[in-house]
């Protein structure tokens, strides 16, 4: 089967690793070959967390620069930072709610202008879907469901070979019971948001 490569970037604490785990569980349910890797050494200390998910017949678990089919960014400046993973055919989905790094507060950097950021990504890739996923997570009932909102939009795009039903099933089996309803709602809100944006 054709190989599809997904990069997810986030800030520690945003739930990126759970999102990739749900995708992996969904692939397992659907009997789709999947391999993933993650770099999370200091995830809980506010650093960048990057995971790669490779579906299909590939042995590699990491994705080289310029070779992602899809980039999913949980934080807009991190999406921009990961632009080197994209090529002209890459589809990019990003949350637009910023989490400025601390370096900005102490004057060691300037947070990029969000309009400029979106234009830059648009110009260099096939398609950009950008929306306030944080607002939708709050709407779903918990800001921590941001990851599920973004998973919803990822699945709506349809590039990754897993269906919404399988992902929802994976949300039910591999996220905390108390949060399942919120997570499913968040997933659906993200799914709709991507449909509208497309």
């Amino acid at each position: 089967m054709e190989t599809k490569r997904l990069i997810i970037v986030a800030v520690g604490g945003q739930g990126n690793l759970l999102a990739s785990k749900v995708l992996g569980e969904a692939a397992l349910l659907a009997d789709i070959p999947v391999r993933m890797s993650e770099i999370h050494g200091m995830a809980q200390r506010g650093g960048v967390v990057e995971s790669a998910v490779v579906f299909g017949d590939a042995d590699s678990t990491i994705i080289s620069d310029g070779e992602a089919d899809l980039l999913l960014g949980f934080e807009p400046s991190e999406t921009l930072r990961a632009l080197n993973k994209c090529n002209a055919d890459t589809v990019v989905i990003t949350n637009t709610a910023p989490l400025p790094p601390f370096t900005v507060a102490i004057g060691k950097g300037t947070y990029p202008d969000l309009d400029v950021l979106q234009k830059l990504i648009c110009n260099k890739t096939a398609k950009l879907i950008a929306f306030d996923a944080q607002a939708l997570a709050k709407q779903a009932g918990n800001i921590m469901s941001l990851n599920m909102v973004l998973l919803g939009s990822l699945i709506q795009i349809g590039i990754m070979p897993v269906s919404a039903d399988k992902v929802k099933e994976a949300i039910r089996t591999s996220t905390k019971k108390a949060f399942v309803d919120i997570n499913i709602k968040a997933f659906e809100l993200g799914f709709e948001a991507a449909a509208k944006a497309a």
Partner: protein, 623 residues
Amino acid sequence: MHKLLTENPGQKMLLLGNEAIARGAIEAGVAVASTYPGTPSSEISLQLFQTSQESDLYFEYSTNEKVAMEVAAAAANSGVRSMCVMKHVGVNVAADALMTLAYVGVKGGMIVLTADDPYMFSSQNEQDNRFYAKLSGLPMVEPSSVEEAKEMVGYAFEISEKLQEPVLFRTTTRINHSSAIVTLGEIKAPKTKGDFVKDPFNLVTIPAVSRKLHVKLLENIEKAEEFSEASQYNFINGNGNWGLVCNGVSYNYASDAVKELDIADKVRLLRVGFSYPMPEKIIKDFLKACEKVLVIEEGEPYMEEKVKAFAQEEGLTLPIRGKAKDLFTRLYEFDPAQVRENIARFFGIPYTPAAKPDISDVPEVPQRPPNLCAGCSHRATYYAVKKAAEGLDTIYPTDIGCYTLGVLPPLSTADFLLCMGSSVGTGCGFSIATDKKVISFIGDSTFFHSGIPGLINAVFNNHNFTLIILDNSITAMTGHQPNPGVDMKDFNLTGYGRVSIENVVRAIGVPHVAVIKPYRVNKSIEALKEAIDFKGVSVIISKEACTLYAQSLKKTRGKPFYISEKCKNHRDCVNELACPAFYTEGEKVYINADLCTGCAVCAQICPEKAIVPVRSKEKASSS
């Protein structure tokens, strides 16, 4: 029940590499497992720690890797299967035991797992521990995938028992921290009790015994070579005459590249999974069938040197290349595109790499380095030390843990770091060779691991420096593992002892010792000044629970603070503490009430006393 104890052979499960390795050990009936936590190996130990609470497995967090290896070595010499798990640099600590254990050998199977970290995602160096196999003469296996990692554990135990030697099991970060779908096998019930049979003239390594044991070791290497020749983990794909030699993750990148470049009919790929001893006959036959060979391995030219040596023995003159300026680097980790490009270049295959976007007009994205958490007690200690040492010319030797993040401005409290425990020994050295005030920092777990001998040295040789023990009562950086200073009731476990750092320090005879609570800023500064002024060895134990761990235990934390209208924008809070709970909007500083832990350190240093506790929920949302 823990998912890794699932008794359902054939079931498929999505597992992290480290979970797969733990499952492999459980399936193989490991009876004793020991570790000192270290990324990227930590989750193997975590899984074994958790499963040991529901099974017959004995697991321990040992004080350091050498102790862990000794524990496992004795268990294996009593005839039970044992495993010790560590990161690559941990093997340096354990090497003294390892090198002679290779002479003594084992009775039950024993695995020494070394998790190497090419690119140094979370390590101080990227040493290639395949050389430990060569150095010790012990067999080594290296998986290429998560699935294979699980299978190889059982295999390594079998080899260990056949050879009566421990087996080195080498992973790299991209095995440890990759996930894939793994098929469960049967769980073999562990043999939990063995027996130790006295045999001093084979087990007590006095020179006369060791001279005999070294002969045995060399014979064992020859036997191991036969296993390597016959191993299912050394295999060849394809029958072309373009040779590729791969190990570990490089095999994945090369396999994908062969498909993508559509050269399967031209290639003969040797995957080396049993990498010490290298399979001589397989490699010599392989070389004879090739017209040129590319060796693809991260790290050092370990295989390349051996392959070239075998070619020389056979009088073969085919080109064999690997590490070179125009091919593979010894630096960092590889990636699929790099391997694909080098294969194309070496064999002269037309290949256009994927067009990368031109990012020259993308503005620089502000850095997001990992940071000490909001409310971290280390930040409070560092602030107090800097205040207490104001005006002094200082050197800050540091150590390995979260607190190494003090290297970043504005704290800038890290000047020198080698390895676990080095803050103490290097503190001694700097105090001899300079007239500067030396203030060393070490965490609680690192102090137990290898800080104590340095401190004894300091007292005995009467060095003049201050050691700050940052005691947050947990091994924080690797994910909150226990250490000898931890109250195991927090883990809902009984039957453990507990070692007081203060008692240890006093028993060593340190002439000036004080314990501070770092959230009490002024008192801490006073105590630190006294310690810094003291001529000789002084120790300050800065004691406060890791805030992240306290939160995970649901221990109550203080009310969050906010910045009131009294703020005159001095910004001492942001500029000197740099707690990530602060953020700026326009010209004003705010505190994120969700992140603030209520440690109140900023409130104590604000010149206007403008930082005050939130009184109500409404205030929290408006601040």
